[in-house]
Every structure is written in structure tokens, then in C-alpha cells.
Symmetry: C2
Subunit: 234 residues, 2 copies
DNA sequence: AAACTCAAATTGTGATCACAAAGCGAATTT
DNA sequence: AAATTCGCTTTGTGATCACAATTTGAGTTT
């Protein structure tokens, strides 16, 4: 009699009073995806999610459409919806694309960078370092996210931002599990180089620093994890 | 008594029997946007579109969410939805991003390029030329679209494709009107260079050719149009 | 004539219901 | 015992309805 139960528990998220149910469902699903709370391959049901979130199916469907369009979810021909699986090839494509777009976005933001803005970035970087030393990876990741966003958002017409967000959303869940497979964390980031390039107004150096930051950080972390995961499988 | 009428007429689109109303609404809206049938700035109403398309509001809302996530539509704080206006800055950002992503995507597709595939591209290019000489800009544009898509789609994991499509969708409507403002069309495309680079397996030359193709084509066309439009306004 | 007020209409939003298709299990058949 | 068929359940989909917020336009006031 009782329905299949198997209700998926989704991490909660603050709900301001004026956000629509659809937006709330979107945020909650997005956050769940970002921290890897929904494992790839399993089918997501609209009614199940609606019950878990506490809204009706209608706003959930809209949220799912949005996330599908951001390539954070995959709609099968069955019309079933699931979290896409990570593969070596997909990972390499995602990292390469992110390098390319973020380097470009940083370059285009450079002309709009004020010294004050650079100071702000430097402050964020300092907080990243202290969060990392304190062992707070959660905060460290969040601040790193913010560092990059602030960097690109200096551009008054940030058309690249949604695409970068989409890539982050596609990589996020996997990086989360990747962190568990990495024996040591790569504390080396290139933020100092990025800031130096900003100060010198050196577009080339900036693009290179941003690309290295991503390739050495995200890239190496993911590749190590993939090697271990695939090694286990074999 | 009669409702405001003012029903927006949307270009029709074939509707296969097995596509959902939501998918049909999406395709029809997308096509309308692509050919510039909906002018920027005016508010789109869900009920109005539903009536124009011949479905209920529900599937229209889902289609609108998808298009918003692709940045083809803009949701205001009023919750109103409209086609974003084109500005000089936005145009330059979009073209720069498209150059960057397409060059990258072409490079990553290169290792998967067979000689047969290159032959196919060459054939498409020949058809572009003859369509252009015949004065059929419609077909020419469509084939040009296909040339680029086929180029990138050689990659078995085309994560860049949805982003390129999104950029095309954001540029498309504007380029359509831009074509009216351009006195002569720039028949010079770099497809021959692209094909030569593919044949030589020269990644650097390929990236440069793709970038030039976009920058000289789309870029110049748009910039000319912008100059004229802005000139008229002044 | 410009600004303000207020009621009617329009619009976005979300819950519910009905329907068809897909998924699932148990009983049956080969 | 393995495969199949048949029934029930679950699921996606879409239309409809109710409600709140916004917009609109006429009438009034300054």
C-alpha cells in the first residue's frame, strides 16, 4: 500500500520568502548536484523530488528543464531524467573547455579591473589560504569559486559567466568524490600569479595563469581520482 | 470582451507525431527567435504564446525555462520574459566567446577527423558556395551552420556543442537584421583554410582559421550593422 | 496639464486531476 | 528452470482552476 518510499533526501537550502517554488526547487536541486548528493545513473522521478522538496510536481518539472538545459541533468529518450556519469573523456573535455573559456573571460574582464577590485581578489585569496591551512576544504572550495566569479564579473557584460557556471556544475559533483580519492591536496594555486598579471595589466600572463590554475588544480585532482577509480574497477 | 487580441504570430515548424507539446513549443519558439520573428524588448506572455502555439500554458512555461537557461530569453525581476536587446558590448563579447570556444572545439575534434569526414565538409562548403552564388542566403546560412556543427560533432563527447548552440541562438536574431543593413555580403569565408588545416592535421592553423572565419564573417557583418543602426539613431 | 488613486483586467504561479505510456511482478507457459 | 504474458502500479505529460501580484487605464485631484 505504502508507496515505494525510497524518498530521496535532498540537502536543505535557505528559502527566502519571496522566491517562487520553482526557483526554490531549482536551487535545492542545483545545490544537491553540486555537492554530489545525487548519484549518477539513478533515475529521478518528478513526484519523488516534489515530495522531497515539499512542492507540487509542476515547479519541479520547470527546475528540471532548467538543469537539463545547463547540461547538469540528462534527459533520456525514455523521458527519464538522471545525473550524467563522468568518464575520462568527458572530464578532459570539460576541463579543456573551462580553461579556454575562463582564460578568455579573464582577459575580457581585465580592462574593467580597478585596483580596488584587485585588492578584493587579493583578500579573497588570503582567506582561501587560511581556510586551507585550517583544513576547512568546504570554505576553501567556496572561496575559490568566489575568486573566479569575482574575476569574471568585473566585465559589465558577463555573457561567459552562465557558461562557466554550467561547466562548474558539470564538474562539481565529480570533483567532490575526486577529493576523497586524492591522497594529498594540491595546495598550489596560481592566484598569486593571477593577481600579479592583473596588476601589471598583462593580458597574456593573465590568461596563462588562469589556465594553469584550472589545469593544475581541477585537472590534476580529477585525473588522479579517475586513475584510482578506474584502477579499483580493474 | 475579446481579449487584447495582439496574438503574436509565430512561424510554423513541422511537428512529428511523437514529440511532446513542451518540445514542440520549444522548437517553435527557438526557431522564431533564430529568425528574429520576435522583436527584443517586448514582453512575452505565457498565455499569449500558448494560444499562438496551440497548447496549454504548462508546456510553454517549460519551454520558456529552457530558453532562459540558454540565455536566449531574459527573465526580469518582474518575472516578465523578453528577448534580450543587442548592444555593441554584448555583441563583441558574444563574438569573442564564440571564436574562443569554436576554435577550441575544432582543435579537440581534429584527432577524430577522418578523411571521409573531411570530404563531407568539403562537399558542404561547395554547396555553400553555390547557394551563395545563387543568391539563396537562407540556404547559405543554414549550410554554414551545418558546416560548423559537423566540424565539432566529430568529437565523440561534444560538451562544447550546447554552448556553441547557445551562442548562435543569442547572435542569430541580431545577425538576421544585420544582414539587412549590410550593403554587400562578405563572400569571403575561411572554409578552404579550415579544410586545408584539417588535411594537414595542423591544430594551430585550424584554430586560427576557425577564429578568422567567425571574426571576419559574423564579426564584420555585425559591426557594420551596428555602426549603421547607431548612426541612424544619432 | 501633470501627478495621483483606485478598481478592473491581465499575468505568473502552483496545485490538482485525468490520461497514456512505460515499468514491474507474479503467475503462466514452453 | 527460463522465457513470456498479463495485470497493476508508477511515471511523465498536459489541461484546468484558483490565487496573488502586477499591470493598466480611467477618473480624480493638485
Amino acid at each position: 500500500m505504502a508507496p515505494k518510499a525510497e524518498i530521496q533526501s535532498l540537502p536543505e537550502v535557505p528559502r527566502p520568502l519571496d522566491v517562487t517554488s520553482q526557483e526554490y526547487a531549482y536551487r535545492r536541486l542545483r545545490h544537491s548536484l553540486m555537492i554530489g548528493a545525487i548519484d549518477p545513473g539513478r533515475a529521478l522521478t518528478i513526484r519523488g523530488l516534489a515530495e522531497a522538496i515539499g512542492v507540487s510536481p509542476t515547479p519541479v518539472r520547470e527546475a528540471l528543464r532548467r538543469l537539463s538545459s545547463e547540461n547538469a541533468l540528462l534527459v533520456l529518450e525514455n523521458r527519464r531524467i538522471m545525473v550524467p556519469e563522468m568518464t575520462t573523456q568527458r572530464f578532459e573535455e570539460l576541463v579543456a573547455l573551462r580553461c579556454c573559456i575562463e582564460a578568455q573571460a579573464a582577459e575580457r574582464a581585465l580592462p574593467y579591473m580597478s585596483e580596488v577590485k584587485i585588492d578584493e581578489l587579493e583578500m579573497i585569496d588570503a582567506r582561501i589560504d587560511s581556510a586551507f591551512e585550517a583544513g576547512d576544504l568546504e570554505a576553501s572550495t567556496l572561496l575559490n569559486h568566489r575568486f573566479h566569479t569575482e574575476l569574471h564579473a568585473a566585465n559589465p557584460v558577463p555573457v561567459a559567466l552562465p557558461m562557466i557556471e554550467s561547466l562548474r556544475l558539470q564538474l562539481g559533483p565529480f570533483l567532490r568524490v575526486a577529493a576523497r580519492y586524492a591522497q594529498e591536496y594540491y595546495t598550489v594555486d596560481r592566484h598569486k600569479e593571477i593577481i600579479a598579471a592583473l596588476r601589471k595589466r598583462d593580458a597574456i600572463a593573465l590568461a596563462m595563469a588562469v589556465e594553469s590554475d584550472i589545469r593544475d588544480g581541477v585537472g590534476r585532482l580529477g585525473r588522479n581520482a579517475l586513475r584510482r577509480i578506474l584502477g579499483e574497477a580493474a
